[in-house]
Symmetry: C2
Subunit: 340 residues, 2 copies
Amino acid sequence: MSKSTEIASLGEFGLIDRLTKGLGRRNASTLHGAGDDAAVIDLGDRVMLLTTDMLTEGIDFDLSYFPLKHLGYKSVVRGVNDILAMNGKPEQLVVSLGVSAKISVEALDTLYEGMETAAKELGVDIVGGDTTASMNGLVINISAVGFARKEDVVYRAGAHEHDLICITSNLGAAYMGLHLLEREKRVLKDIDNPEPKFEGYEYLLERYLKPRARVNVLDALREEGIRPTAMIDLSDGLASDLRQLCRSSQCGARIYLERIPIARQTSELAEEMHIDPVIAALNGGEDHELLFTVPLDKQEAVMRLGLVDVIGHITKEESGVILVTPDGEGIALKAQAFDR
Amino acid sequence: MSKSTEIASLGEFGLIDRLTKGLGRRNASTLHGAGDDAAVIDLGDRVMLLTTDMLTEGIDFDLSYFPLKHLGYKSVVRGVNDILAMNGKPEQLVVSLGVSAKISVEALDTLYEGMETAAKELGVDIVGGDTTASMNGLVINISAVGFARKEDVVYRAGAHEHDLICITSNLGAAYMGLHLLEREKRVLKDIDNPEPKFEGYEYLLERYLKPRARVNVLDALREEGIRPTAMIDLSDGLASDLRQLCRSSQCGARIYLERIPIARQTSELAEEMHIDPVIAALNGGEDHELLFTVPLDKQEAVMRLGLVDVIGHITKEESGVILVTPDGEGIALKAQAFDR
């Protein structure tokens, strides 16, 4: 009898490490495989970046409140973000859809409309796809391709002690947007003509339903001649993604609670729903912002951009990944929760 | 009220045409989008081929009889085949998995083992992946990347009148293998310690569960200096895929019933199960062989390879796509069925 292991028991980084451990490398063009936001393929004069991202109904989205147009838009932003997080220029993507019987052609039109809107905004081309049936729910997979000069690629593994830790916008808003949508769905479950109450929280909905890719920040960094030393897409939440970056870079980090930007709407709804806004910011996930590090001497130049917040700095690995509270206490960050 | 259209009502080519119709092209590197087995991206000195393929549980595979190792193997072969069908050299692929709660880590190990076995045989590297949860059933998406000289790429659209129509192996075997597995599942449904009867039909199971990529045929063609004029992966069945190739090439075709290779095991099981073996060969699908055309003057050279069957030739578009029976009668091929 073979022993069966639940996936959750492997923890945060265990599964992907385990699955990709034994994979061989047969082509000289394969520069870098699993372990970053995208794979890196050598083209000689430059590199190609390749990434894949799957969304499944009931886990990653709920069609009862997620408009298909937004879902199309978001799925493209997610795919493109993985290319941006490697400092690449996204150019093409291919779409696979698993389509359940309840989905009409018009629904797919709307989904594609949203995907094309994002593609247009981000300057990428949808170059093909595959559509298959699905017994249970909609599945969307986006594989995106981008290009970069070899020396411009930014990995998770490039952070050094004293580097500054930057993020591209406030955190936790998407998480609270999701909570709001879930609450209204619960409250209005058995009501005819339900009218969900979203007033005052539109920003949170937008952050969850229609995240923006931060192309402008990368452009601005490039113009200023600032190359991040390490970068990661903030999809799992600041705590998890920062730990991931530190693990790859074999370093530690200190971030400061009062420097973590949290939008007013995020704090207000969190209070209303008895959720700690700091938890939303640290562990909420789906922010789809960029977390990156720059050398200490770029502090002034980075601040001058007015586009990023510096929330802390990189330390030695043995110092761990620490959140510093306003009273100076240091708390070790865990992946899914942190203890006060 | 918007009218809702069922996807099936759009017919064979309708859906993908409709969804990809309005897509823009923003990058000069986008040479060729939807409508072939892979997209074609210009790299200057050569091109990159990019493809995506999704498999969903309950539609594309049944885990009650599909061993996970074979499933991994087959999913890689399918992805790689789309690159081969463009005459490209497959080099990398990325894997997305939607994993339901019933799947253990050991099951994923086995799936990856099968994928890596195929990757090794085909000389490709698995360079990354994404794993998400799935509410209902396993979903596998493979995106494959290959390379080719621009002038070597073979599209569906290159066939000309008088070209010969070639296939790389016998047809209908995978379809009968699937029928055999389904039959044994039905028969043994309520039996303890079921012992399915597969003797004499092992070849059919292998064709369904572990299809082979025909790298050797493409290598042989290259060595002989024969470049196919058009090519397509035989996944939907000969009738549908030949019609697709003819539609892209704006031509017709005549194929000859007695030249369509059907394996002995395929005929025997078809007879036993009261299925017309010709229907299995024409419409069964999942053969994962290559269908390609070569100029008429390559007939002798192609036959000499001993690796392909010539089943007919290309005609003018207005002649239609015709199956010629042994008594000389011509029958117009439909996508999903043909009328005697």
